[in-house]
Symmetry: C2
Subunit: 305 residues, 2 copies
Amino acid sequence: METEFIQHLRKSLGSHDRLRIGLGDDAAILDWRDRDDLVVTTDLISDEIDFRLAEVDPRRVGRKALAVNLSDLAAMGAEPVAVVVSLLLPRTPPVGTALELAVQLYDGMLPLVEQFDCILAGGDTNSWSGPLAINVTAFGSCSDQPLLRRGAAPGDVILVTGELGGSILGHHFDFTPRIAEARRLTRLGLAQVGMDISDGLLLDLSRLLNESEVAGVLDLTSIPISDAAHRLSETSGRTPLEHALADGEDFELLLTASPEHAQQIVADDLLGTPVTAIGKIVAGAGMWADQVGGKKLEPQGYLHQ
Amino acid sequence: METEFIQHLRKSLGSHDRLRIGLGDDAAILDWRDRDDLVVTTDLISDEIDFRLAEVDPRRVGRKALAVNLSDLAAMGAEPVAVVVSLLLPRTPPVGTALELAVQLYDGMLPLVEQFDCILAGGDTNSWSGPLAINVTAFGSCSDQPLLRRGAAPGDVILVTGELGGSILGHHFDFTPRIAEARRLTRLGLAQVGMDISDGLLLDLSRLLNESEVAGVLDLTSIPISDAAHRLSETSGRTPLEHALADGEDFELLLTASPEHAQQIVADDLLGTPVTAIGKIVAGAGMWADQVGGKKLEPQGYLHQ
């Protein structure tokens, strides 16, 4: 099947001036002149953990496998350059053949590859008796100062893009990685600290605070809550705010910036995407609601087992 | 488990002057100054297809996951720089816990990481109800002309390193990727065409011939047959030569070079590893034993399903 599939891919993928050697050799070779650094991330998603193949269009699964990696590049303020994709296909998928499934997964990835002018540089295609798993490794480059988790300082404002919570209702498949927004921030020098929210606001914020060795105070009334969080709340027994704080897979940017920079970012619709100030950085450790010594916030969210 | 495991890794991994940002952020950042190109390969291995977790020390499995990727870099004549590793762990492994399995898999990789002065730059660790799968993406660089599958010309000699066949008896876990040999060849400008033998000599040679749009004539009496191929032959019902031609997972280099260069490579023990001339490139298509129009050789080997 792999030979057949590579022939299909060779036909459907265009050439790219940075791709010196693509599919058909033992490895890809990319032109990396005029780049000083290489930003690399890898993420694997699998059936029953990150999606349910029996219940979803495989194109959305393929899209998600790529998008979560692009979100990690956005979290660094990096420009995507290329991706490589490994498929581990069930020999007997819920619908159709393994080859058809592979084609659909790629069909879901290609629009995103194109949107971010990224090169699909190669991959590895396997089938087995187990369920579907997809690994994507994405790599890019930062011409400006990257966004890191370390470096948040007391006095900085905590910001998030978009709205949070209820991603399970569909956003976790359909989100747009915040590449353009992050690139704009780093190009303008407005933020050097940030990450993407993949496991839940509180859990991811706690990681940023730990790396920066500071504490955070959140204004819980300011958290931007998505419609999906409200809808989910109707049946979940949890409040919309609880969903926004801990659901995860929002794939929004969590940032810190000086008050002046934060004001610029929020006021001018600078990113073309809503940005909300949700709290501030203070000295110490941990997370608090409203003020230091207020209600202590636990790092809730999705913990990988 | 992932948090615990990352803490373990942070302790066991050293720093590296090319690693600007390592574990603990959304992506790794590598120093890529003074490099013009980026060679990248990705390979996924899984339980029951590439190993049997119930029957083998997990350290050998971890080692193999990394080694097959380094072999792909060798196949390009590239120098390894960094790798990222994704684990998909069974929640209930045959022995011990998922965390213990993860630690053992990395224990198998680390000596190889060190041997090739490679950076373990990051990864993704997951567990699920399915069997074990491991994806490695390896990054390297070619300061010289790379080894490609295209470019073999009539008159060139076909060469292989080492001995072939019977890899299933243990070599597929314990082989040393031919990084040093390939680097030496490209540095000296003695070979520009080559690949590694992963799916079997005949199948892989047929791929090289197709990419180069030439034919090959093999001297079957010259094929270097491993002891393992002889041992396997005692019970398999196949000849040692058949094992050497089609078993796969030899992870030796298959090269072509001009007669002068081939003589230099073979005569002087230039690589510190035995190299054998096994045939020559001729015009046309296909593979033949002894001479064009002789016995036609079919591209047998391990076809990924």
